[in-house]
Amino acid sequence: MLEQQRDYVLRTVEERGIRLVRLWFTDVLGNLKSFAISPAELENALSDGMSFDGSSIDGYGRVQESDVLALPDPNTFEVLPWVDSKSAEARVFCDIAQLDGNPFEGDPRQVLKRNLKAAQSRGFAFYVAPDIEYFYFAPGAAGTAPVPLDEGGFFDLTTTDITSSLRKETIRTLETMSIPVEYSFHEDSPSQHEIDLRHTDALTMADSVMTFRFVVKEIAAMRNVHATFMPKPMEGVQGSGMHLHLSLFKGDTNAFHSADDPYNLSPIAKSFIAGILRHAAEITAVTNQTVNSYKRLVPGFEAPVHVSWARNNRSGLIRVPVPKRGSEQATRIELRSPDPACNPYLAFSVILAAGLRGVDEGYELPLEADANLFEMGDAALTKLGVDQLPQSLNDALRVMESSPLVAEALGEHIFEWFLRNKRAEWRRYKTHVSQFEIDSYLRSL
């Protein structure tokens, strides 16, 4: 099988006149990394991997040995549709291994594979469908405030045209790269857009999210527009989330579905939800990994603030969408906290680990919180037993630090590096004197 896959890649490179093959992988923070090789080197790369110095990649550094191997996954080989055919290029995702061939513990893709194997050993395939929000802005110098494209009146009509044609072009490109799009629309905020991807297994989806972010930015940049997945780029308007629709399948059967339950939720679905709720605070640093992420998780902007679930309450952490009648395959849960700046491999890993812990230990599903939580006082919430999500990156890191579940899901190497890196980010932020402080205190104090 592997032999045939390699042959397929090599022949396609030859037949399509590919000049450059880009080897893609992801650092611990979720940044896409790439180096290019010529077709002549590809055969060797496919059989033996390409070694490179990992010490300059975020989260890849080790004390003894800094060299690692990039092993292309031939199943992810795709021709890049936006490069013209004269200088055709292709890309392939890589697994990162140690020089002895064992999986490298700093590689997020390998971490997700390990977690998916754990699910597979229980007979489960983990399916994910993300709704990804992002903004288009006019290009500006680094450090300047973002300028939305479809606000400002003067060029309203023209600029609205630009963003919707950008979105159309983006979707066309995604489809030719094996990333089917379910819906797309203009979101609430000026210049904010949403593209919903059709569900796939979690590994394919994590690769797709990496490709998605790259494609959105690349297509925008070609028209001199800046696309951003920053969770809260503008004060006072909705931020960008990445709601995740999650389900577990056993073979052809949706393990979350039960025809007997009034909510169509199986006992597995209920304890999976309970698992995510109980461990929600522990995994938040991974699903919402920037200082800025926590400016999105505030009341009033359709982002979750409380650890709760409900069928049709968009203020809770988990929503259980009501599937179309008889549509058993569509039974799923929607996790609303993650933002599109997360590392999808690591986020899917900790979410799956939390859910499966609930299934393994048969956690009891708490009562549904169907009142609008945003409008309730703290005392009323405490009475309901509803906790809040961590309020800052610092809070989230503190909870994560003492979580054996997250340590196990990520592996010691990434767990420790992530905490160290993110604490440094928090320290930099804590010592920064913001415009808010200048405006509030400089004159009055």
Partner: protein, 228 residues
């Protein structure tokens, strides 16, 4: 699967015959006699013939003789005869290559045709598969639709190849997963649905229907007038 165009006699064969030929993936044309045979002949000649000698033996055998005398003599002729006509075969060994008793069982006719065209099918198999504008070159792994290259991942290509090999046949998800993937995959059985959705997108909106969902069973390539 294409071996080329087959001549079929009588001009309007039975529904069973038409269905068997269609579902087995043969392209064919009904011919009423020797004149039609010459008039309708493809440039490179007929690839073979299925001749009913069961109802009208005289015209049937005359057609066989005409087939052998064409500019490109037809080398693959299957005749249909009734059980009582077996004796007719003895003196006509040069006029046919195989025979099938009428009324025939579709599976038997299909098997006899496959065997008769074994060499043609083998060489076709090794090179290209074509169906309704779709062309897969099995040696170079390249797929085109109306000569436009399709950029497929390896698994998309393999799935398409598997479906296209037997147009009209319905495959269950389990079969496709076992035969095309053949190993434990993170996605499980739903993986097939994911890949079908991707293939449809790559074929383009107007051709997406070529991969048909057969409700609560699986998938089939190429719409068939015998379905439903």
């Amino acid at each position: 699967m294409t071996v080329g165009l087959l001549a079929v006699f009588p001009e309007n064969p039975s529904v069973d015959m038409a269905r068997t030929l269609d579902l087995s993936g043969y392209t064919w044309k009904g011919v009423g006699g020797a004149d039609a045979l010459r008039r309708l002949s493809p440039v490179n000649g007929w690839a073979g013939a299925v001749v009913g000698c069961d109802e009208d033996p005289e015209s049937g055998w005359a057609l066989c003789r005409a087939l052998r005398r064409l500019e490109h003599p037809v080398q693959r002729i299957l005749v249909l005869i009734k059980g009582a006509q077996i004796g007719d075969l003895e003196v006509r060994d040069d006029l046919f290559d195989d025979f099938c008793l009428s009324p025939f069982h579709p599976r038997e006719l299909e098997a006899r045709l496959r065997h008769m065209f074994f060499h043609e099918l083998k060489s076709v198999d090794a090179a290209v598969i074509e169906h309704a504008g779709l062309r897969l070159n099995l040696e170079t792994y390249q797929a085109t639709f109306d000569n436009r290259p399709l950029d497929l991942t390896y698994m998309e290509y393999e799935l398409l190849k598997y479906l296209v090999r037997e147009p009209g046949r319905v495959f269950t998800r389990e079969t496709l997963l076992a035969e095309v993937w053949g190993y434990e995959y993170f996605g499980g059985a739903r993986t097939v649905d994911v890949h079908v959705r991707r293939l449809r997108a790559k074929l383009g909106e107007e051709h997406a229907h070529l991969i048909e969902t057969v409700r609560s069973v699986g998938y089939r390539f190429g719409s068939s007038k015998w379905s439903g």
